[in-house]
């Protein structure tokens, strides 16, 4: 079972994603703004973090940047999910280290597939790391 942190300031979307992912068999923890997100990131380990871009306290790019700059959390899969669709923002997100970018409105089925793929890749990576040791 995988641990997913969903960061999203739209209440409807937050609950909907939580329900969908739980049904798909994931453990879901939610955060409704940047501040809560940072607290929850500090407290626990996640396999995947899914974040919105525009939220109170801190924007999603900061979340991405902070995860990637923390050596312990390098392996976390990051999906950015936002209604912002301009090219610049999307490339920025990828450059900072996001693994995937979903533009709202999203397809629930697609989200689940991407999460599964990301989890599969991730476990692959972890194995590689342990082999090297």
């Amino acid at each position: 079972m995988s641990n997913i942190l969903v960061i999203e300031d739209d209440d409807i979307m937050l609950k909907a994603i939580r329900n969908i992912l739980r049904k798909d068999g994931h453990e879901v923890i939610t955060a409704k703004d940047g501040k809560e997100a940072f607290e929850k990131l500090d407290n626990e380990q996640y396999d995947i973090v899914m974040t919105d871009l525009m939220m109170p306290y801190a924007n999603g790019l900061e979340v991405v940047s902070r995860i990637r700059s923390n050596s312990e959390k390098r392996n976390v899969g990051i999906i950015v999910c936002s209604s912002v669709g301009n090219e610049e923002t999307i490339t920025e997100a990828f450059r900072l280290g996001a693994d995937d970018y979903l533009k709202k409105p999203i397809m629930a089925g697609e989200l689940m597939i991407r999460i599964r793929k990301l989890l599969a890749n991730r476990s692959g990576n972890v194995k590689l790391v342990t082999k090297k040791k």
């Binding site: 501040k35 525009m54 109170p56 900061e62 669709g85 301009n86 090219e87 450059r95 709202k104």
Partner: protein, 491 residues
């Protein structure tokens, strides 16, 4: 002979004051009606609008958010952070460190991993020298630009530097310690994008007091009416001035001023008009006047619009001393501006600005304290000679009082119709209570401080710079020009 002269003089004085008073009351009544119509129109449009559309659009025009900071070390981090979280896809945040003597700059550099960069920009508006431009190494803060400059002793100077550095066709002028609504950019750009056949050169929204609001790291948690008496009076004054005054004037495209605390501008026009004037005591209204002159001189059909929603919360002065400085400065600014642009008065070449905005501000904002003061002297004179008809005098006094109470009460109602910011009745009552005592406590203060300002301006004309230094950014929440320009003052 002497008696007849006094009679004629007093007759003349009474008649002109009577006409003046009637005109003023009619204007307020008219403003109440126009603002109601304008708010109703706004609310109808809001009922189906979704600002998320602009968030998701690649066509959203770019906006530069310009926020000067002077000795804001205590709160700068959370303030900058909150400026970086607007719900808008295409903007940059330009923080101007106006030669702070505290650790404002160091704090920002550390927190956002800034480095000094070779930054080329055109000095379109002259201002104090820039010591350095900083950008973040962390791409999450790519929107942020921090400019370190020498202190210019005026917000205008700092904002001009921000305009020079900015990259987008629109700019939002604010203060770093203002708390802004996350939808500010979308809501203020909208009027710019939906007017037919006219270029909207500036937009603004309502400001309110942040004094007793619950704020956490630059994010507004709960909106509350201020508790300190002075701030409470200002809250009422701002509501009246924005929700009734500016919205009313906006209905007929005659907004006198876009507040320095929050305003969005068309950069091209603002730059061509010459930007902010650092020597002005009321640089926000001054810029608006110059932009108007520019558009009329160049035959551009332009407008300035306001929306009734509160998008900005600012700390109002709570000590009478600081409040006095603020209002003295505003009054100086108004007089200075009226003298500088006097050629616009009743000048049909400047359209509504020449025929409505300017005359109104000249007669009913600039002269109001003077007329009121003379009226009181006149009454004292009558009392001294036992010439007062007391029943009539009292009736007139009650008349003025009830009328001003009515106007303020209607403003509170219009505000409540727009959006119910206060969650509890207590907050509403706290503001309403001020309606009834404002004329007795707050209003006399404003009259005295305004006269003080006029006096300073008239006597110190040559030393205005020296005064600026005292009046500039000296203390936090000092007399910064977040000016509501009370378009509707009590009585």
């Amino acid at each position: 002979m002497g008696v007849t002269f006094v009679e004629i003089a007093s007759g003349f004085f009474e008649t002109s004051v009577f006409i003046y008073g009637v005109a003023l009351l009619l204007i307020y009544a008219l403003l109440a009606i126009m603002s109601f119509l304008n708010i109703a129109l706004f609310l109808r449009k809001e009922s189906y609008t979704d600002y998320k559309v602009i968030v998701g659009s690649p066509l959203a025009p770019g906006i530069s958010v310009i926020a000067p900071a002077f000795n804001e070390g205590l709160t700068i981090i959370s303030n900058v952070r909150s400026l970086l979280t607007f719900d808008y896809p295409n903007y940059e945040v330009i923080i101007i460190n106006d030669g702070s003597t505290d650790d404002t700059l160091e704090k920002v550099i550390n927190e956002f991993s800034l480095v000094k960069v070779d930054f080329a920009y055109d000095i379109k508006l002259s201002a104090k020298p820039v010591r350095g431009v900083y950008k973040s190494r962390d791409e999450a803060y790519a929107k942020l630009i921090v400019v370190d400059k020498e202190n210019g002793k005026a917000k205008a100077d700092a904002t001009n530097v921000g305009i020079n550095v900015s990259n987008f066709p629109y700019f939002l002028c604010t203060d770093v310690d203002c708390i802004l609504h996350e939808q500010t950019l979308g809501m203020l750009i909208r009027p710019m994008l939906e007017e037919e056949n006219m270029r909207v050169i500036a937009t603004g929204a309502t400001l309110r007091m942040a004094n007793s609001c619950e704020v956490d790291e630059g994010v507004l948690i709960a909106i509350k009416a201020p508790r300190p008496l002075l701030a409470r009076f200002q809250e009422l004054e701002y509501i009246r001035s924005f929700v009734m005054g500016k919205m009313g004037w906006s209905y007929i495209n005659a907004v006198p001023n876009v507040s320095g605390g929050l305003g969005m501008f068309d950069k091209e026009i603002a730059v061509k008009a010459g930007g902010y004037d650092p020597a002005s005591f009321g640089e926000d209204m001054e810029l608006r006047m110059r932009m108007s002159r520019y558009v009329y001189d160049n035959k551009i059909k332009a407008s300035v619009r306001y929306i009734p929603t509160t998008l900005c919360w600012t700390e109002g002065p709570t000590s009478v001393k600081i409040f006095m400085r603020q209002r003295t400065r505003w009054a100086r600014g108004l007089l200075q501006l009226m003298l500088a642009h006097k050629k616009m008065l009743f000048n049909p070449a400047y359209g509504r600005v020449g025929l409505i905005v300017f005359p109104y501000n000249f007669f009913f904002e600039l002269l109001a304290p003077v007329v009121e003061f003379l009226g009181i002297i006149y009454y004292l004179f009558l009392i001294y000679f036992g010439l007062v008809n007391w029943p009539y005098a009292i009736i007139l006094l009650i008349f003025v009082y009830t009328y001003s109470v009515m106007i303020s009460s209607l403003s509170v109602l219009w505000d409540q119709l727009t959006f119910q910011y206060y969650k509890t009745w207590k907050d509403v009552i706290r503001v309403i209570a001020m309606v009834f005592v404002e004329m007795l406590i707050y209003h006399p203060l404003i009259v005295v401080f305004s006269l003080r300002g006029y006096w300073f301006q008239l006597t110190n004309r040559k030393h205005s710079w020296g005064n600026m230094q005292r009046a500039g950014f000296k203390k936090k929440s000092d007399d910064k020009p977040k000016k509501p320009q009370p378009a509707v003052s009590a009585s």
